[in-house]
């Protein structure tokens, strides 16, 4: 079976090695942007499946801002991945950022002052969790240190929500930079999803993220509106890594989202067209 890839034509080249890989090599940072009509969540799941299936003893750290573990588990099960099993074996660390970012806290008594309930202006606690997960395997890993030194992938779901719920964009960019630095130190790759709420006018946050990334995968919706046959278009823009083959917007690869994943095809060759 051919190795699963993020996007069929997308290959990466690690600095030291000459062979190509289908998933980002250690140290690489990849930013994925999407639009409301064409969510890029499926790419995160493809990256997760490709990383876990193709690399032995690899580990994944997922930081989920907007989705629950049950959601990730249900989708991964369609790709024959058992996230609960991966989690107990220490290959997966799932950090659910929702409860600590939300306004309410479960254990706070009503007598708390409102200041305690507002989200903290610093993302340092979240970064602390990420960095300890990257350095050490999950504490409940029973098999000692077999995963030490294994290739790790850090997936951050939904960075833009952090900005919308009140974190300053400079703080988020610092958080991203720190996470990337931690990834480089631990031979991990980084994939971050950022929503593009203003297509064509990237926000300061998005510009800040892109300036520190190796490549940008842009998922855009069709200008003619939603369609049953084409879910969206993918273009790839290399930034720091020039070895990545670009896909320009006018030659964008189209895809159709299914329950189990996505089907990619060139423009004009979709099943509804041919």
């Amino acid at each position: 079976m051919a190795p699963s890839s993020l996007i069929p034509s997308l290959t990466f080249r690690a600095r030291a090695e000459s062979h190509q890989t289908y998933i980002p090599p250690p140290g690489h940072a990849l930013v994925i942007t999407d639009q409301l009509n064409s969510p890029a969540e499926f790419l995160l799941h493809r990256a997760l499946a490709a990383h876990v299936k193709d690399i032995d003893k690899s580990r994944v750290v997922i930081v989920s801002v907007s989705r629950s573990f049950a959601h990730w588990k249900a989708i991964a099960s369609k790709a024959n991945l058992n996230l609960a099993q991966l989690s107990t074996s220490g290959r997966l660390t799932f950090i659910d950022a929702g409860p600590q970012l939300a306004l309410y806290t479960l254990d706070s008594s009503p007598s708390d002052s409102p200041e305690n309930l507002t989200p903290k202006s610093s993302l340092r606690p979240l970064f602390g969790q990420i960095s300890s997960a990257l350095t050490h395997p999950s504490p409940d890993s029973t098999s000692g240190e077999p995963t030490h030194g294994a290739q790790v992938m850090l997936i951050i779901d939904d960075i833009s929500t952090l900005e919308w719920i009140g974190y300053p964009s400079t703080e988020i960019i610092r958080f991203y930079r720190a996470a990337h630095a931690s990834c480089r130190k631990n031979a991990a790759s980084l994939i971050a999803l950022c929503h593009d709420h203003l297509p064509g006018q990237p926000s300061p946050l998005l510009r800040g993220l892109l300036a520190r990334s190796h490549a940008h995968i842009e998922i855009s919706s069709l200008e003619s509106g939603r369609s049953g046959a084409v879910s969206g278009e993918i273009s790839i823009h290399p930034i720091l890594d020039s070895s990545i083959e670009p896909i320009q917007r006018r030659k964008a690869l189209q895809y159709r989202l299914l329950d189990s994943g996505a089907i990619f095809f060139e423009r004009g060759t979709g099943s509804g067209v041919l």
């Binding site: 249900a74 309410y104 409102p114 919308w164 369609s227 049953g228 299914l258």
Partner: protein, 452 residues
């Protein structure tokens, strides 16, 4: 005896009453919104653990409140917990609609969305019936067997437990409200106001969610979130509230329907406002009234507004059930391979609120009927066209009318009035003749565009 044993599903009915399993993703339990066509657009219903946001940018309409009332009424009729978070929550509940008397006993309602004119909205219903009796329209054989064109989904023939059939003429009986309040089925949470109204509301909602009886779904209804009673609302506060609400209920058997006041429902609030709202909630839908724009309201006389689906709930799945299952949206591969999304509209009749596909009226938007029945055609009484043109368009009448009024030399507009008079005379002999007002297509003073 065979060693094989048929493996049966463990439970065929959902554990929580009033919910049902989604057709495409059985792990999702969904609640009905109370409007069958709305359920269809969501792909079956509002999934538990999801927040649905309905935006209504028109200041002069209350479509958001109407949807909220359906949501509440369905919860009270279906036996689920209902929690209303609003400044005057009691008023919202008291104004809700209710089921037919017959439907409450489970009898068929006999009314469906499939027949859009069934409730007598259009004037001159009697005319249509009289004409039906006179001349039955002959349909070409190849089209005769096609099913009737439907713009919406049919309502269920019986008022089921999942989705009751509500009647906007009926108001919810006070005894039901008081009974539900006493039994804990219905709870209302006020809005504290002030700078921490959002935090207080979240804490109250959290308590309400934790107090819900086991095996009972909870409907959270938040009308006018961020309105004047919530204090000076900043966008960040609103986003924090929506995000926190979503995080709070995503693992609980609760679903929330949130509406915003009109001034927070517009894209002009902030750059990318609708997109942000769409990402922060599970589903986001706009009900834009045509009444805000005179040209639109005259163009689409049969609809009250258009509907846009910005995002649809997709828990535990990549592809929202709405894309796969919605008949009205028409995005599924089975219904339309490769075509785009249907234009959607909504209208409110005397009895119900319907979401349906948007179509232009016949021949590009003229609301009046253009063809006349042959037997009682006004102007053609004494003219007798050649057979193919007998049921012709108004142009035919205009063309032929001068033969009747020869020598008078009047413009076309005047000719039309003569035609009506001629018909009035004809009516003397036929007392049960059809009214004249439907017969003439053009009332323009100028000659018709096609009148060469």
């Amino acid at each position: 005896m065979s060693a094989f044993k048929r493996r049966l599903p463990k439970t065929t009915h959902p554990a929580i009453p009033g919910t049902r399993q989604n057709l495409s993703t059985p792990s999702i339990l969904e609640l009905s919104t109370g409007i069958p066509s709305f359920d269809d657009i969501l792909g079956g219903g509002l999934p538990l653990g999801c927040v649905l946001l309905v935006l209504t940018p028109d200041p002069h309409a209350a479509w958001g409140d109407l949807v909220q009332k359906y949501f509440i009424a369905q919860g009270l009729a279906g036996g689920q917990g209902v929690c209303v978070v609003a400044d005057r929550a009691e008023d919202v509940v008291q104004g809700a609609m209710w089921v037919h008397q017959g439907d409450a006993k489970g009898q068929p309602s006999g009314e469906g969305d499939a027949d859009p004119d069934a409730d007598g909205e259009g004037e001159g219903e009697g005319d249509a019936q009289a004409e039906d009796a006179d001349t039955k329209v002959k349909i070409a054989w190849r089209y005769e067997r096609m099913k009737q064109f439907q713009t919406s989904v049919p309502a269920q023939s019986t008022s089921s437990e999942y989705c009751h059939t509500f009647d906007l003429n009926k108001t919810i009986p006070p005894s039901i409200i008081s009974g539900a309040s006493q039994s804990g089925q219905l709870s209302t949470l006020g809005v504290a106001g002030g700078h921490d109204s959002f935090q207080t509301a979240l804490r109250d909602i959290e308590t309400a969610v934790s107090l819900t009886a086991p095996r009972r779904a909870l409907r959270l209804s938040v009308p006018d979130l961020g309105g004047p009673q919530w204090g000076d609302t900043k966008p960040t506060q609103l986003f924090q509230f929506l995000y926190s609400l979503r995080v709070m209920i995503r693992t609980s058997p609760a679903a929330a329907l949130v509406t915003l006041p009109y001034y927070l429902s517009r894209p002009s609030v902030d750059a990318g406002w609708i997109q942000k709202l769409g990402y922060l909630c599970d589903g986001c839908i706009s009900l834009t009234s045509f009444g805000a724009d005179p040209s639109l309201s005259s163009l689409f006389q049969t609809y009250h507004g258009s509907l846009q689906v910005h995002s649809a709930p997709s828990p535990n799945t990549l592809l929202p059930p709405s894309h796969k299952l919605s008949v009205i949206r028409g995005l599924s591969a089975a219904s339309s391979q490769g075509s785009g999304e249907n234009n959607l509209a909504f209208r409110c009749t005397r009895k119900r609120f319907v979401l349906e596909t948007l179509h232009l009226d016949v021949e590009g938007g003229v609301g009046e009927r253009r063809t006349t029945p042959r037997a009682s055609a006004g102007a053609s009484v004494g003219i007798e066209d050649p057979p193919p043109k007998a049921k012709g368009h108004a142009h035919d009448i205009v063309h032929n009318a001068p033969t009747e009024s020869e020598g008078k030399g009047q413009p076309a507009a005047a000719v039309m009035s003569i035609g009506i008079e001629a018909d009035a005379e004809a009516e003397v002999g036929k007392p049960a003749a059809v009214k004249t007002k439907k017969r003439v297509a053009f009332h323009s003073e100028r000659p018709d565009l096609y009148d060469f």
